[in-house]
């Protein structure tokens, strides 16, 4: 119990800081910054509206299509590159170049190629989150302990068994790291894509719309919602999955006696 509280205080302090900053902003310029209580009122009203949930749903839908595709593609490419050195140097270069181009710049193209609606945004999510996944998995695969491979060979494992029983479990932490990095990228590009793509619904669209119609407390409301959802997904869901899958990593190294 006390431990839980000890773990929570930095989080509480962080949230308090942000709310305080907002309130100070409100005192300085109430036109631009809504007061903290009014934001809570808006939040309370907002979540009661179906419009709000439609926005959340639309964003989640795009995320849940784009992100897994990116993870899968990134994982496959990363694994292949990790296994074949030449391909790895090539892929690293390719990614270095592509990554220096902000994903959002592809929007004009994507909109013309795929027309409107979800596809361009999903494509942006994929582009943005493919890179960190591929790189993390590549690093992970290249970092597989040589002895682990040789032990498997000595114990009689065939190539396919080595991939399945050594490479995969050993790169799992890299998959998870990549997945978390990719998630951050996916989320940021999702919101940016929704803000500036032709989407008509979604959290990014909502925030932009609020900005257009001078609804600053709406902007703050959606910034909060975006932050909360990302924090929940990343810190809680992803961390849980990670802890579950990588149980052996989180067991305190002790004498075990």
């Amino acid at each position: 119990m006390i431990r839980k509280i000890q773990k929570l205080w930095p989080f509480a302090a962080a949230v308090a800081t942000l709310l305080l900053l907002l309130q100070v902003g409100n005192w300085v310029n109430p036109l631009i910054f809504p007061s903290v209580p009014s934001v809570f009122v808006r939040l309370y009203e907002g979540v009661a509206e179906p419009k709000f949930w439609k926005a959340v749903g639309a964003s989640m839908y795009r995320l849940l299509i784009g992100y897994p595709i990116a993870c899968f593609l990134g994982g496959v490419f990363g694994l292949l590159a990790g296994l074949y050195r030449g391909f790895a140097s090539y892929l690293r270069r390719l990614i270095a170049i592509l990554q220096s181009i902000p994903p959002i710049t592809w929007l004009p193209f994507l909109m013309i190629i795929y027309g409107f609606g979800d596809v361009p945004i999903i494509a942006i999510v994929i582009i943005a989150s493919f890179f960190p996944m591929a790189i993390a998995v590549m690093d992970g695969t290249e970092g597989v302990v040589r002895t682990h491979l040789e032990v498997a060979r000595v114990l009689g494992a065939k190539k396919s068994q080595i991939v399945r029983r050594v490479y995969l479990p050993e790169t799992l932490p890299a998959f998870m790291t990549g997945g978390q990095l990719a998630f951050g990228n996916a989320w940021r590009s999702l919101i940016a894509g929704e803000m500036f793509g032709s989407a008509m619904v979604g959290l990014g669209f909502s925030i932009r719309f609020a900005g257009e119609i001078a609804d600053m407390s709406g902007v703050i409301l959606y910034i909060i919602v975006i932050g909360v959802i990302a924090t929940l997904l990343d810190q809680i869901l992803m961390e849980q999955v990670k802890r579950r899958l990588l149980r052996w990593r989180y067991i305190a190294g002790g004498e075990g006696k």
Binding site: R153, V154, L246, I251
Partner: protein, 245 residues
């Protein structure tokens, strides 16, 4: 019958000559050891016997047949133990059996027997990170032993342990080997260790590695490190390695 043999073996990595016409014959059931300075090619020789490396020249043979790749008959135990951190002790030991598709009940029986042998009964569901260095090394040995190999190749298995745990582990290794008829080949930096454990100690020269001396020391075990014979052999090997006191 010679179960392990290096016949006039040389090895080069690019332009680096590592081994130079090595000859080595280890009969079945013998406990042999190799000592030599760092970088002289000891690991390379062992890895050839394990089938993880090929010779540039000469023949690497097991039971008279050329070695073309690794085989569960010849188990190698690595210095860094090489346990899979994501598998429990039991699963680590089961790894080779699962690859060989040994039926589950038989596998479990063998695993439990071998864990008892290395004094790790009851640790089945621990992860390697929960074990001490010595315990980990014993799991690595169990993982090799459970395959019931004819030959055990050990590459500095105790290099990472502190001097005291090491002494304990040496005695365990003897216990594990004695009376099984298994062939053992141990690489070590520690002359005492080689003499304490092995029937035959090969002494190698600095790179390019050659075998410059072979010690036959066949005192009964456990050996007394302070006995006159032991001390004399030690002094001899130290001199060969340029470690005169």
């Amino acid at each position: 019958m010679h179960t392990l043999e290096l016949r006039n073996v040389s090895k080069r990595f690019d332009s680096l000559q590592v081994l130079d016409r090595i000859d080595l014959k280890i009969p079945q059931g013998e406990f042999a050891a190799i000592v030599g300075p760092s970088g002289c090619g000891k690991s390379t020789a062992l890895r050839m016997l394990a089938g993880l490396e090929t010779a540039t020249e000469g023949d690497v043979l097991a039971n008279g047949a050329k070695i073309t790749g690794p085989s569960p008959e010849r188990m190698m135990i690595f210095q860094e133990h090489g346990l899979y951190p994501w598998l429990t002790v039991e699963k680590n030991v089961a790894f080779g059996l699962e690859l060989a598709k040994v039926p589950k009940p038989e596998a479990m029986e063998r695993i439990n027997a071998v864990l008892e042998k290395v004094n790790l009964k009851g640790f089945n569901h621990y992860f390697p990170s929960q074990l001490s260095g010595g315990m980990r090394q014993r799991v690595a040995i169990a993982r090799a032993l459970v395959m019931d190999p004819d030959i055990l190749l050990l590459d500095e298995p105790y290099g990472a342990l502190d001097a005291m745990t090491r002494l304990t582990m040496q005695n365990e290794l003897i216990r594990i080997w004695q009376g099984t008829g298994k062939t053992m080949l141990l690489i070590t930096h520690d002359i005492d260790e080689a003499l304490y454990l092995a029937d035959k100690v090969y002494v190698m020269s600095p790179r390019p590695g050659q075998i410059i001396h072979t010690t036959h020391y066949e005192a009964p075990r456990p050996r007394d490190r302070s006995s006159e014979e032991f001390v004399a052999y030690r002094r001899e090997i130290m001199k060969l390695l340029g470690l005169d006191e």
